[in-house]
């Protein structure tokens, strides 16, 4: 009985300690005064690794998700003679939900795992300790550029995802299934609002960017420096950030769109 209590207490304390370490890492990385001359090339390198390298998977999945949405939506809507509403159906579901969420999930798998593995290996091979030996703050040199790269890239990727997906839906809905092109765009335009839909979607993807990059960096920075520890940390990154994204998505949707 006492053992059980002790186990519970230990679990709770170590969970809090890890939240504390994660916050300490994030604040340490962000509150440092950035050196623009030295920091910008590092940031650009990471933007390339995190953002540009994820373009292909984001655009291809966006295209196919848009096409599938149009196909599925059309078969239901045509039964009511409402196939003209395909445009707003696709645009709203993409801008509000699928764009930010699917981008975040893909980003966690594509870029988050890479960040964790990279930093984890740096820790295992004691590169982080060597940086500290040279009086270079690894939080500033290694963690901060990666965090900002993720935070900037993901909203851009989500926007690209939604845009490509809407074009994919146009391809299937208008060019293949024969929805009228004019009503596809005009009903979409009358139903979608810049503040309500696009901006809220953008806020969502900023929140997801924060969550996913933070988890990925922390898991790498805090991993057990063995090959087994790195593999565990990488798995945890993908699992935890996917779950966190889905959970926060529900909360954000409830706050933004429930009224």
């Amino acid at each position: 009985m006492i053992d059980l209590l002790q186990k519970l207490g230990h679990k709770t304390l170590s969970r809090f300690a890890s939240i504390g370490r994660a916050t300490q890492m994030l604040l340490g990385a962000l509150l440092n005064v950035p050196n623009l001359r030295k920091g910008t090339p590092l940031l650009i390198k990471q933007l390339y690794m995190v953002g540009h390298q994820s373009l292909l998977i984001i655009m291809v999945s966006g295209l196919f998700i848009g096409m599938v949405l149009a196909l599925q939506g059309y078969t239901v809507l045509v039964g009511y003679g409402a196939e003209d509403s395909l445009g707003p159906l696709v645009a709203l579901s993409l801008l509000r939900e699928l764009g930010p969420v699917v981008t975040a999930l893909l980003f966690a798998g594509r870029a988050g795992s890479a960040l964790t593995a990279e930093i984890g290996l740096m820790k295992a091979t004691e590169q982080l300790s060597s940086l500290e030996m040279m009086a270079v703050d690894p939080l500033k040199r290694v963690v901060a550029p990666r965090f900002w790269a993720g935070f900037i890239s993901m909203p851009l990727l989500a926007l690209i995802f939604s845009a490509v997906a809407i074009l994919g839906a146009h391809l299937v809905g208008v060019d293949w299934l024969g929805v009228d092109s004019g009503s596809f765009w005009s009903i979409m335009q009358s139903q979608v609002s810049l503040q309500q839909d696009i901006m809220n979607g953008l806020i969502k993807s900023f929140v997801f960017a924060l969550i996913v990059t933070w988890i990925a960096l922390y898991k790498g920075y805090d991993c057990i420096p063995t090959s087994e520890g790195i593999s565990k940390a990488t798995t945890e990154t993908v699992v935890h950030s996917s779950l966190a994204v889905l959970g926060f998505d529900f909360v954000l949707t409830a706050v933004m769109f429930s009224s």
Partner: protein
Amino acid sequence: MNTRKIEILVGLFVALGVAAFVMLAMKVANAGISGNGETYTLQAKFDNIGSLKTRAPIKVGGVVIGRVDGIQIHPEEFVPVVSMSIDKTYECQFSDTTSVSILTSGILGEQYLGISPVIASDSAKQSCLGNEVVNQDEMDLDDLFGVESKALKNGDLITDTKSALVLEELIGQFLFNQGSE
């Protein structure tokens, strides 16, 4: 890979992102054209608003000139009051005899507000805009009947309204009429 190439590719990535945002804002949401122009507000009392929602369009002859801004219950009379935000260019153009009705687009469509405008007389327009009323001697048609109409300005209430048709009420009325025959 050298720095220049990386920088170019990152530039491409950011440009793509911005292009996607512009495309979404302009092509998908149609911002700027009808979204954030200057508006003024009118109120209208209805008996029943059916399923009218905020952000429903307000149309004159099918052309959208504004959106429903909010729907409240009148604190004393307990009837719905709809506040409408209408494009500023139409301020002081409609007379206060203008009527508003709740209409439905299509069979399954959304409900919207249709305004049947009565154009305000010149003197009413001028006094509504706050200008001095000139050439008083010219008689308006309204003046002949001894009614002085005003032009609608910000905050005014439209009194001539037609409520939404509710299917159950229609059927009830129909059955009642059948029964009395």
